[in-house]
């Protein structure tokens, strides 16, 4: 799959520079990232992660379904989120080679809990 599905959750989904939206759901917090997860958006993701973890949710899902380009700086943020989450369980939603291939090349697939869909990530135990 080359074209990732876009969840349409972010209010700025169509912005070329991408967006990170924060949604509180019963299971925890979902951060939906859309657009190219590069230097600019990685900074935004970091802020969102910090904001979300302050809520001390049981679960933090970083949904990369809307990501059109995953730069290494974006992957670094995923690792950081995963390692600094403390009590919070971090899961990543990733499907499609645009996101999965970079994660595989760096074997971050071993480090991160990756799920194909947001529903899976929220339902996983």
């Amino acid at each position: 799959m080359t074209e990732p599905e876009r969840p349409g959750q972010g209010p700025l989904d169509d912005e070329p520079e991408g967006s990170v939206s924060v949604d509180q759901v019963p299971e925890g917090v979902v951060l939906a990232v859309a657009g190219p997860l590069d230097l600019a958006l990685a900074a935004s993701l970091r802020r969102s992660v910090e904001r979300a973890t302050r809520l001390r949710p049981g679960l933090l899902v970083i949904d990369l379904s809307g990501v059109t380009f995953l730069a290494s700086v974006g992957m670094a943020e995923l690792v950081r989120a995963n390692r600094q989450a403390g009590e919070t369980t971090v899961r990543v939603v990733a499907s499609g080679r645009i996101v999965l291939r970079p994660l595989e090349l760096t074997r971050l697939t071993d480090e991160l809990a990756i799920h194909a869909t947001l529903a899976d990530a929220l339902a996983a135990r």
Partner: protein
């Protein structure tokens, strides 16, 4: 700015009142008002009118006959910019009351009109200045900036020509002066030397004040300096002269000066002076910005240049390296490559990428690179090098990671490598097939802790390509596709490779997604922003190469990169391995350093050698004295003796080995 943007007939109430009053001033001999017709006049018609009055024209008899046939008298009330007006016309006999009234109105409103005119002009100046300022201060390209400033200022002050002399500082910190011209072709000045700091120019160059002269040739400071005593022969004639310094707002330094000239006297007014000073002020800010920006760019460029190694020549290997800066963004980053000659004739290839951008990434890169080099020189195995660097990084990098591919080309046609999350290397075999090395075998430094080792055969005629993500990845092309393209392009490269072919590969891969950006990157290259190194290992004359047989051709590896990313390619020339083992004597003579071996240098390689009987042919000179080897640790087992046990490993190398032997023998 205009105050006349109303429709005809759409007079303001004050004008209406004036018109009413004046109309009632038309009186006949009996003192009674006469009928008065109002007629709107265009600017053209007003231009044809002559008459007395300021703001209110009393139309004279000649104009009256020409413009208003049959009329006995007429007044024209002009609007503020004389763009149009309203005529009051009567065909009845009248006295002089209307003339008196017109003079009274003119006298009463004259001051006001002049004030309005002055304010209007002032507003236009501010408008122009503001637009020039906005344009100038948004410009970071010095060449464009100075030309725009010169043109704007020359136009604004109404000079026949203008020049802007400005100082720049080159990368060595030396100041030099350039100039731009406006209103005259460059040839008009090209024959003259740069202006010196004469009495006339001193105030401008020293930044002590604006100099405005109605006739500079009459100035007491003019004409005292040999050889010209005034303007050089053939210089454009200058009478009116205006010169303004451009002074840096950040440090008070005089950055340059504007000089304006006109062949007629008294052309420059106080307003022109103010305009010129205003534009000079904006130019100073803009020039300051541009210089700071340039300095920053030079700084990062120099930093990245100094942080990158030259690939050293490696006997038996042809190396082509390319390091191209990103087409946009900071001219520095976390990508690096290294070619490290290890003891015992092994060579380490390193390529890596620190996540992040700019100076922070570059400084981490410098440390990681040094760490890798240090562990490499200890002769550690690839997995151990990466493991130790990862442990080291644990202490000082936060929320970032480093990908790194580390390979050692050990004597004996073998490549031992480990890969910390970096893009897989590409190997092109002598038969033209390609293979990915180290695809997803370990996590990046900063994340993972274990970095398993792999081996691959690296016989003569094989090409190895290492690269960073800029070559295969962009926003418009995902990495999977990019890697496929690269692999195909790599397979299609000519054999043996040429440097041009490598450049072509880079262009093809990076150009596809970023055509315009690549072009601008190429332009930057000429300015010194792009680094290219090409190192070729110990090339033998072509005829010797031919002797070596097809498998033995030196094949420079491709080098390639897009954006800021380095690529590094090496290819095994058949000579390399043989040169190391079989021809050390001769090669050492040529490259004394090369043969210096220490025991440590082989620690990492020894284990591998044990399994490698195919390695190392046993040509005659192996049995000869090896002074460098003699310095090695006694228990070091990488010995000519050992090599002598090896049969010629592959049939296709036979010709090569024979050739080697012959060379060495001849050498003796």
């Amino acid at each position: 700015m205009t105050l006349t943007a109303r429709n005809p007939g759409d007079q303001d109430p004050e004008t209406d009142a004036v018109l009413d009053a004046l109309a009632s001033a038309f009186t006949g001999p009996d003192g009674r008002p006469v009928p008065v017709e109002r007629r709107l006049l265009s600017a053209d018609r007003i231009a044809g009118l002559r008459g007395d009055g300021d703001g209110v024209l009393v139309v004279d008899d000649a104009a009256l006959a020409a413009q208003f046939p049959g009329a006995t008298a007429a007044l024209v009330v002009l609007d503020r910019e004389h763009q149009r007006g309203t005529a009051l016309i009567t065909h009845d006999p009248v006295g002089r009351t209307h003339v008196v009234a017109a003079e009274a109105v003119g006298a009463a409103t004259g001051g006001l009109r002049r004030a309005v005119a002055a304010l209007t002009a002032e507003a236009a100046v501010i408008d122009a200045l503001q637009s020039v300022g906005r344009q100038l201060t948004a410009q970071l390209d010095i060449d464009t900036l100075v030309q725009d400033a010169t043109d704007a200022a020359t136009t604004a002050v109404g000079a026949a020509f203008g020049a802007f002399f400005y100082n720049l500082i080159n990368q060595f910190g030396e100041s030099y002066t350039l100039y731009t011209l406006s209103g005259v072709p460059r040839e008009a000045f090209s024959r003259f030397p740069m202006p010196r700091n004469t009495e006339v120019f001193a105030p401008t160059f020293d930044g002590t004040g604006t100099l405005r002269s109605d006739d500079i040739t009459a100035d007491r400071r003019f004409g005292h300096n040999a050889p010209y005593h005034g303007m050089p022969e053939g210089h454009l004639p200058v009478r009116s002269y205006l010169a303004v310094s451009v002074i840096s707002p950040s440090n008070g330094e005089v950055l340059g000066g504007f000089f304006f000239g006109h062949p007629e006297r008294s052309r420059f007014t106080a307003r022109h002076e103010g305009l010129a000073e205003g534009i000079a002020g904006y130019s100073a800010i803009a020039l300051d910005n541009a210089r700071l920006y340039e300095r920053e760019r030079n700084f990062t460029r120099e930093l990245s240049r100094n942080m990158l190694p030259e690939a050293p020549p490696v006997p038996g290997l042809d190396l082509v390296t390319r390091y191209l800066p990103a087409a946009r963004g900071p001219n520095i980053g976390g990508d690096w490559f290294d070619v490290i000659r290890l003891d015992g004739g092994a060579t380490a290839f390193v390529i890596g990428d620190v996540v992040g951008h700019g100076v922070p990434a570059a400084t981490i890169m410098g440390q990681v690179r040094t760490a890798v080099r240090s562990y490499a020189l200890l002769g550690l195995a690839p997995s151990e090098v990466l493991r130790r660097v990862a442990a080291l990084l644990d202490g000082f990098i936060d929320s970032t990671f480093v990908t790194c591919f580390y390979a050692v080309h050990a004597p004996g046609d073998e490549l031992v490598f480990a890969n910390a999350g970096h893009l897989p290397a590409l190997l092109r075999h002598a038969d033209g097939t390609t293979e990915q090395l180290g695809d997803a075998i370990a996590q990046p430094l900063g994340v993972g802790t274990e970095f398993p080792e792999r081996t691959a055969a690296f016989p003569p005629g094989t090409d190895l390509l290492l690269y960073t993500d800029g070559l295969v990845e962009s926003r418009s092309r995902d990495v999977t596709q990019g890697m496929e393209w690269l692999r195909t392009a790599f397979a299609d490269l000519p054999r043996p490779l040429t440097s041009d072919a490598c450049d072509g590969l880079v262009a093809a891969l990076t150009g596809a997604s970023t055509t315009t950006m690549s072009r601008s990157s190429t332009c930057t290259a000429r300015a010194g922003g792009r680094r290219e190194t090409r190192a070729e290992g110990d090339r033998l004359p072509r005829r010797d190469v031919g002797d070596g047989g097809a498998a033995d051709r030196p094949a420079p590896g491709p080098g390639a990169v897009g954006r800021r990313h380095p690529a590094l390619a090496g290819s095994a020339g058949g000579r390399r391995a043989r040169g190391l083992r079989g021809h050390g004597q001769r090669r050492r003579a040529r490259l004394p350093r090369w043969g210096r071996r220490t025991a440590g240098g082989h620690r990492a390689l020894r284990g591998r050698r044990a399994d490698g009987d195919r390695r190392g042919p046993g040509p005659v000179e192996d049995a000869g004295p090896d002074r460098d080897d003699a310095r090695a640790r006694p228990d070091d087992d990488r010995r000519p003796v050992r090599r002598q046990r090896d049969p010629a490993p592959r049939g296709r190398h036979d010709g090569h080995d024979a050739f080697r032997a012959r060379v060495v023998v001849t050498g003796r």
